[in-house]
């Protein structure tokens, strides 16, 4: 499926998304957290899209907002899409989990939680994965400070 066709199809499902192809080799769509889970399920289950392979899940600190970027590929049609979701709440950011759609998301979401502090709703095992349980702060956030262990050039 071409990027235009994909874009049309997805806009027909969820009208309020932003699509762009600028600055990236993939079609990128941005969606609000509330619509994320439905959209993802549709992307996976609709035969025309069939995005069954979540090959990358990245947490990003955009300064104002915290976000997650999902890179999806279809193993049948071999097309890709990037889905972005953002939340403005830096104190208690929450986003719906997609680990029920792609099992690989379980570990990747734990990693994002560990480093960015984004809570994933309905995640089966939402706890830190790399850091110790009692670690304070979320190290990959831009405002994270650690005077002892961090060297800033």
């Amino acid at each position: 499926m071409t990027n235009e066709a994909l874009q049309q199809l997805i806009t027909s499902w969820v009208p309020e998304i932003e699509c762009t192809e600028e600055g990236s080799q993939f079609l990128t769509i941005t969606v609000v957290p509330a619509k994320l889970h439905d959209l993802m399920r549709k992307l996976k289950e609709t035969p025309e899209t069939h995005f069954d392979y979540l090959f990358c899940l990245t947490g990003v600190d955009w300064g104002q907002a915290l976000g997650v970027v999902y890179h999806l590929e279809s193993t049948i049609h071999r097309h890709n899409i990037v889905v972005k979701v953002q939340t403005e709440d830096r104190e208690h950011p929450t986003i719906d989990t997609v680990s029920d759609i792609w099992a690989t998301a379980e570990f990747h979401e734990r990693e994002v939680y560990d480093f960015f502090g984004i809570q994933f709703n309905n995640h089966p095992n939402m706890k830190r994965i790399f850091m110790t349980e009692e670690w304070e702060g979320y190290p990959l956030r831009k405002d994270y400070e650690d005077e002892i262990n961090m060297i800033i050039k």
Partner: protein, 373 residues
Amino acid sequence: METVIANNNFKSEEYFINMGPQHPATHGVLRLLLTIDGEIIKKVEPDLGYIHRSIEKMCERDSYQQIVHLTDRMDYLSANINNEAVCLAVENALELEIPDRVKVIRTIIGELTRISSHCLWWGVMGMDVGALTTYFYGFRDREMINDIMEETCGARLTMNYNVPGGLMYDIHPNFVNRVKAFITHFKTKIPEYDRLLTDNVIFQKRTQGVGILSKEDAISFGASGPVGRGSGYSCDVRKHHPYSALDRVKFNECLETAGDTFARYKVRIAELWESLSIIEQLIDNIPEGEHRVATNAVIKLPKGEFYQRVETARGELGVYIISTGTKNPYRLKFRSPGFSNLSLLNHITVGGKIGDLVATMATLDLVIPDIDR
């Protein structure tokens, strides 16, 4: 410790055991929290982070040339392929035209790296199922590749041979002859691997029907590399998204359908042959030319997002760079193959014995620094 037990809701027959972080079968500092009933595994929960160095955070303060050397320290057995991934991402972002010579050399060195990684894996696989001698035979062949690497790149493990724009130095004059000598040597050794381990009845009984991963699960768990291909899932990045000189060589994607430990083993052995064939196709016609394109001393990527996928010895490595136009990346994410492959460990080992867990883990071929970036 106490909290772990409290969270596990044991039945009376079950008990809890710590496998790692210092355990011979976990190949590094991986810690597995096992819930066991006698010898039967009820639950496997990996506990990670014992050597997490926060490479992604370090990348945010490093220049693009400096990032390359950090990737050596992720999956140290595919160091060259990791370097290549970052360099390709940067070069694509800068829209640099890379000379053919560089592309061919990168591919040859990448495949050599794959062979050396699989040699080590084969040795360790044998050792994990109890055949200690395989380790040394695997290392003997790996040693030849290490010598080639040392002569050309200057180091045996953390080479840092690729730089954005090409290669740090040109290949050594002995390179071609040494690689050819290695190919002739290694072609007689793979059948020996088969005679010693693959055909062995004990080994086959240990691995067949153990740790079965279905194709659907493989895709859902994001398995890649030999782990995915052992389940019949065509996931070779070299085939689907060819990079460097891989679009001009003929090779087969090694697929097995059984999805068990033995299938994953056979995929890797078959990959040894395929990698040899790729090198053979390229080694005789390395094009003349520059080994490096001049770049600015300070590389600034344009604003945007760049994603590069490569196939390391363990599976798909993704480098995701978000750039704001400065000399450092705003965010750099490594999608490491080991992390996704580890996530399916619990799924495929529950119900097996402790011995099965060890054999299965050996074919997942985990490198812990790759998981704990």
